[in-house]
């Protein structure tokens, strides 16, 4: 039986390649049950023998008893050539298959022209449908922010920041695919800095919500902080939990807080991670209790 609501954490920044298995065990000891594996476009280019490399990661995670709940693919800076980018995403799907990971999270591209943005995003996501079908992998779009510029670099809504827009993308792509290939990953930090109503956002997405990236902030900058550490502007965690309960969410509860962890002195970090895992278990208990 598939385990529900596995508590997880972003792995890439926390796990130097040396002693991978020991580090994964450390995450397990801290209370985590799953990890997100983040890949950037350049990582793929640099990793010549990637099947061997990611095969080793899969084995180490399996030995440590840690599930790989999702892969998060991020483009590096500016996409110069759309076809090259699509090729990178295909490679990410292959890696997903190697890691036996059910979800690939892909940030939508952001353009100033919203019509063009939609066209290009649809083209990119559509191109992935056959391979995703073949491997039985779900592709998740994610809500984003962009910078309004100026001295304070104020964060404003990016692609898929609105639940209705996200629903439109997912439903359009799934109808075209003829089956449920596309879903959504909610980034709580991005939703908070763009002042979204967390509970309503989740309910609008409904069963389309497959993964979550959990982090907190002060409502102004996307700081990727530990939940429940802010007194001003923190994420509406009560609404988050109520929303997940209402839609019967069963995916992983994954914390995307690497920046916060790196703020702590190195020897204190495992203790910070134990707090995060404990928060995840509290969230799971509350989501299940409300059912």
């Amino acid at each position: 039986m598939k385990e529900k609501l596995l508590v997880g954490i972003g792995s890439k920044e926390l796990l130097p390649e040396s002693n991978l298995e020991d580090n994964l065990r450390m995450l397990k000891e801290c209370g985590f049950e799953s990890v997100i594996y983040s890949i950037k476009e350049n990582d793929l280019k640099m990793q010549a023998n990637r099947h061997v490399y990611f095969g080793a990661f899969f084995k180490a995670a399996k030995n440590a008893g840690i599930a790989i709940s999702q892969i998060h693919f991020k483009y590096d800076e500016e996409i110069k050539e759309c076809n090259d980018y699509i090729e990178s995403l295909h490679n990410a799907l292959h890696i997903c298959n190697t890691l036996k990971c059910p979800f690939l999270v892909i940030d939508p591209i952001q353009l100033k022209d919203s019509v063009q943005e939609k066209e290009i995003n649809l083209k990119i996501y559509r191109s992935l449908t056959p391979v995703a079908k073949k491997y039985d992998i779900k592709i998740c779009l994610i809500n984003t922010i962009k910078c309004a510029g100026g001295y304070h670099q104020h964060a404003i809504q990016g692609a898929c920041a609105d639940a209705a827009e996200a629903v439109w993308y997912i439903d359009t792509l799934n109808v075209e695919a003829g089956e449920e290939i596309f879903g959504f990953c909610l980034d709580t930090g991005c939703a908070n800095v763009t002042a979204r109503d967390m509970e309503r956002f989740i309910i609008t997405l409904g069963s389309r919500l497959k993964c979550v990236h959990i982090s907190d902030n002060n409502g102004i900058s996307d700081d990727h902080l530990m939940p429940y550490t802010q007194t001003l502007g923190q994420v509406d965690w009560q609404g988050f939990i109520a929303g997940l309960n209402r839609i019967g969410y069963e995916g992983a509860l994954t914390f995307d807080v690497s920046r916060s962890i790196h703020t702590f002195p190195e020897e204190v970090r495992p203790h910070a991670m134990k707090v995060i895992a404990a928060v995840g278990k509290c969230m799971r208990k509350s989501i299940e209790a409300e059912s």
């Binding site: 530990m226 550490t229 920046r259 703020t263 702590f264 204190v268 203790h271 707090v275 509350s286």
Partner: protein, 316 residues
């Protein structure tokens, strides 16, 4: 030196009792503190004193108990602390300790302080922390605070317990601004003046890191300028705009105009000044923000930060 600070283990890692300590079950509470990794506590006696006034207008509080009754109350408390190898590094007195124009209440405050110092002696606690009295008139403010402190000298000498004055804040138009005992020249003047009058080192300083940060003071420089007057600490963090009492390192250090305290500088200065007192955290709010099921881990995180501080202070 009046107190027994130097008799304690160097740099014990401590936590305030407010927010988690069950006064009715000290055995369980001290065991919990030890299990979380703490070696000392800052006893928030202020949370149980509860000063009121009866129908005749006379003040009353928990501290009206006789010596025997107080000792009876604190015997299990002391025993539980000893069993768990926890020191009472400091006691937080009630506040305010002075009310302008209310001499009946002020005489009572001094009586309560005498009782707190009596309890401190019994608990082998070397320091009691007090807040200042704030008034708009700086001349009056100085006189009031000097009088208030002077009135505490006899009991401090009698019980051989140090009184530590703490840096504070006030609000103007809802903004947090500096208050008395914010700047080091003023702090040092008070401590040196009062100690000269007492003829002994009766007064020291309690540095509240959060209060300094929020009024834009360089905490590292402040520690260096305080020198050996610094006896105890209230360690906590904030985002630079509100006195949040958060766990260190939980804010984003990169936020413009906000950010967290420069902990590396604090460590460096404590090392340079050969600070030996408790590393006592005043992060009750930071722990309480967490869901109940994660608060133990929150406490363990604080003690781990304390041990890191100690190691960095001792080893550099």
């Amino acid at each position: 030196m009046v107190s027994g600070i130097r008799e304690m283990k160097r740099l014990p890692v401590g936590i305030q009792t407010a927010g988690w300590f069950d006064e009715k079950d000290p055995a369980k509470s001290f065991r919990f503190a030890r299990e979380c990794g703490f070696e000392s506590v800052d006893y928030n006696i202020d949370t149980i004193i509860r000063i009121g006034r009866d129908e005749a207008g006379n003040s009353y509080s928990f501290m009206d108990k006789t010596d025997e009754d107080l000792l009876q109350y604190y015997e299990p408390f002391k025993a539980a602390a000893e069993v768990n190898n926890i020191k009472i590094s400091q006691i937080h007195a009630h506040y305010p300790t002075y009310v302008v124009g209310d001499e009946e209440r002020n005489a009572y405050h001094i009586k309560v302080m005498e009782r707190i110092l009596f309890v401190s002696r019994f608990l082998e606690c070397p320091a009691v922390v007090i807040h200042p009295t704030k008034t708009p008139d700086r001349g009056q403010e100085r006189e009031i605070n000097l009088t208030m402190c002077r009135n505490m000298i006899p009991a401090a000498l009698k019980y051989n317990v140090m009184i530590c004055i703490e840096n504070s804040l006030k609000r103007i138009n809802k903004n947090v601004v500096q208050a008395i005992w914010t700047d080091v020249e003023e702090i040092n003047w008070y401590i040196d003046t009062l100690n000269a009058e007492a003829g002994k080192e009766v007064f020291g300083f309690c540095l509240d890191t959060g209060h300094s940060h929020i009024v834009g003071r360089d905490v590292e420089m402040l520690i260096e300028d305080l020198g050996s007057r610094l006896k105890v600490l209230h360690i906590h963090d904030n985002n630079g705009t509100e006195d949040e009492h958060l766990i260190p390192y939980t804010q984003n250090p990169g936020n413009k105009g906000m950010g967290q305290i420069g902990w590396d500088g604090v460590i460096k200065a404590l090392r340079k000044m050969n600070y030996e007192g408790a590393l006592s955290f005043e992060c009750a709010r930071g722990v309480k923000l967490l869901p109940e099921g994660a608060r133990r881990e929150g406490m363990e995180l604080i003690s781990a930060i304390g041990r890191y501080f100690r190691k960095a202070i001792i080893e550099g």
